[in-house]
């Protein structure tokens, strides 16, 4: 089974900018390019967490807010709460004067096509599966695929929308994490996934910052992001060990991936799927972009 996830690790600078840029790019499942609900609409969610004081902000059910992650940050900084959703979140957005657009702005041709396929197959797509047959392997040069859908010579699933996330640690060892998504293709309206849930899709403490993506329900059950930090805190594992542990032990049947940074400037990623789009950069000049292990 093929799972493509895009996550971004950056050292230095603060998270929201990177996630904002990813939100604006229609190839990725958040903001513009979000997966569609069963009604053909977009409902977006996001969360952000600041490690040192564990302040957090989350939003769900957004339909007109251009950059959900920025609204999540405003919830954290300008409201007495941690999580606002649906019409209450939209109202808060209006009060805060953030950029609002029509729901159509977020809907792309590709996703309308994917929704149609999902409805025909009567299934909910985890952002990467095509109902009529999956792919066992995926390599950049492969031309031999059965998919009726291709784009630029590659299987359409390579372009399937996905959650975006970003984790950051600055020079002082302060970690932060942010995640943003449109959720599952053909999801029920009102469905909330792991991305806005602190401890599931997003978490940051004084030890690390974590952002997850994949099968939301599996990530929630596993409290995946919190578990990375908990294992470091309570078992004394280092970042990569903690990441490997939770990926191996906590995801029963579910497929997911995550990226993480630690206060010591380490970066780590883990996934139990075939691939995860990721990029990483560190202060000492190390840079890497990857898809497969």
């Amino acid at each position: 089974m093929q799972l493509i996830i895009w996550l971004l690790l950056m050292i230095g600078g603060f998270t929201p900018t990177q996630v904002r840029e990813l939100e604006t790019d229609p190839l990725f499942n958040s903001g513009r390019g979000s997966a569609l609900t069963e009604n053909g609409t977009v409902e977006m969610e996001a969360s952000i967490m600041d490690g040192p004081k564990r302040r957090c902000g989350a939003v769900s059910g957004l339909t007109t807010v251009k950059n959900p992650i920025s609204l999540a940050r405003l919830v954290m900084e300008k409201s007495p709460h941690s999580y606002l959703a649906f019409s209450g979140a939209e109202e808060f957005a209006r009060q805060q004067g953030v950029e609002l657009v029509d729901n159509e702005y977020f809907i792309t041709e590709e996703n309308l096509g994917m929704l149609k396929l999902a409805k025909e197959a009567n299934s909910i797509l985890f952002d990467y599966r095509i109902p009529n047959g999956g792919f066992e392997t995926c390599s950049a040069g492969a031309a031999a695929t059965d998919s009726p859908l291709q784009m630029n010579g590659l299987p359409i699933s390579l372009y399937a929308p996905e959650t975006v996330g970003c984790v950051v640690v600055d020079q002082e060892g302060r970690c932060a994490a942010a995640t943003s998504t449109g959720g599952l293709m053909n999801k029920r309206t009102g469905r909330i996934g792991d991305s806005p849930l602190i401890g599931a899709g997003t978490y940051a403490s004084n030890l690390c910052g974590v952002s997850c993506t994949g099968e939301g329900e599996a990530i929630i059950r596993a409290t995946l992001a919190r578990d990375v930090a908990a294992v470091m805190e309570y078992k004394g594992l280092c970042l990569q060990e903690a990441v490997d542990f939770v990926i191996k032990e906590r995801l029963d049947e579910g497929q997911a991936g995550l990226i993480a940074v630690s206060k010591n400037g380490e970066v780590a990623c883990g996934f139990n799927a075939n691939g995860m789009f990721r990029g990483c950069a560190t202060e000492d000049g190390f840079m890497e972009v990857g898809i497969w292990p």
Binding site: Y83, F86, T189, R191, R221, T223
Partner: protein, 320 residues
């Protein structure tokens, strides 16, 4: 081993000067719900069924902040949320933003059992409720005169603060300034382990008095207000924003697992060391039939019982 059950009706700044006419109905309700839960456990009901039926009972009681008796948003409306989790399978269900569903906890169970999702909210959750044919009623049913009064006081308190022009003392964690005492009601919840060792947790709430419309608290967030695995089942109550950032329910289980602490030690650690005073209470049971109900607030409406005959009902710190 053996079964164990604990339930709560909310932790908060419950004044010790609470008059008998307010205290007694609540104590009686706790006793009644405990009896229902114990009877169910004695009749071999699964832990999941037990926690659901106890929380339904608490939701129906207008003296607690869940279902009927839910506190009000800043618009004077009710927005209820609930969550249920099965320890063995870690299956879970959660709902938020309900306005007409009589028993939110039952709808959360239906989300778990009848959809491929875990969490449904607002219009989508209400639509699901109608599809499932659960009991719904006009939203006014849930609103009580007490809560209308609480909302009024909360709004006035904010006005007074601004009039005094004193800088609002925001502590490091930026907690919501406390509304008047007695209005800091938490939630309701129940945790149980049956004599097969099945663990389950359930929590339900109307949220915070004078909350913003659309505000979601800790209750429906797996790992924050509600959690169960094969070690323990936990339901938390108090200041939602604090419970979320400290992932209270998950941490009890994590500390047991990763540091080898007992249920009591792990729960005490989370409540006393991790979360600032005045913000949290929780109930928890372990697979081996232990039960604990720590809180760092003035009080927590609570009750518990174990198979060996122990039982307790309390509000403030017990004298033992």
């Amino acid at each position: 081993m053996g079964w164990a059950i604990a339930l709560h009706g909310g932790a908060g700044d419950i004044p010790v000067t609470m008059p008998p006419e307010r205290r007694q109905p609540r104590e009686a309700a706790l006793r009644h719900c405990l009896d229902i839960g114990v009877d169910a456990l004695k009749s071999q009901k699964h832990a999941l069924d037990v926690v659901e039926l106890v929380v339904r009972e608490l939701e129906n009681n207008p003296n607690f902040n869940a279902g009927k008796g839910s506190v009000l948003t800043n618009a004077g409306t009710v927005e209820m949320e609930a969550c249920i989790m099965d320890g063995n399978t870690k299956r879970c269900g959660a709902v938020s933003g309900l306005t007409t569903v009589i028993n939110p906890i039952s709808l959360s169970r239906l989300v778990m059992e009848k959809t491929p999702h875990i969490y449904l909210a607002f219009d989508g959750a209400e639509a699901f409720a109608r599809e499932q044919g659960v009991e719904t009623i006009d939203s006014s049913h849930f609103i009580t005169p007490e809560n209308i009064e609480r909302l009024k006081q909360a709004k006035e308190a904010k006005r007074v603060q601004i009039d005094y022009s004193q800088p609002i003392q925001k502590d490091v964690e930026k907690e919501l300034p406390a509304a008047s005492g007695g209005s800091q009601l938490g939630t309701v919840g129940c945790v149980a382990v049956d004599n097969q060792g099945n663990l389950a947790a359930a929590t339900s709430t109307g949220g915070l008095v004078n909350k913003m419309v659309g505000r979601i608290g800790d209750t429906p967030i797996i790992g924050s207000g509600t959690y169960a695995n094969n070690l323990c089942a936990v339901s938390a109550t108090g200041k939602g924003e604090a419970i979320i950032r400290h992932t209270v329910a998950r941490d009890v289980a994590a500390v047991m697992e990763f540091k080898g602490l007992s249920l009591k030690e792990a729960s005490a650690y989370v409540v006393e060391e991790c979360v600032p005073r005045g913000n949290v209470g929780l109930i928890a049971v372990s697979a081996s039939g232990e039960v604990t109900m720590p809180f760092n607030t003035t009080g927590m409406f609570r009750a518990c019982a174990t198979e060996d005959g122990y039982s307790q009902i309390g509000i403030w710190t017990s004298v033992e």
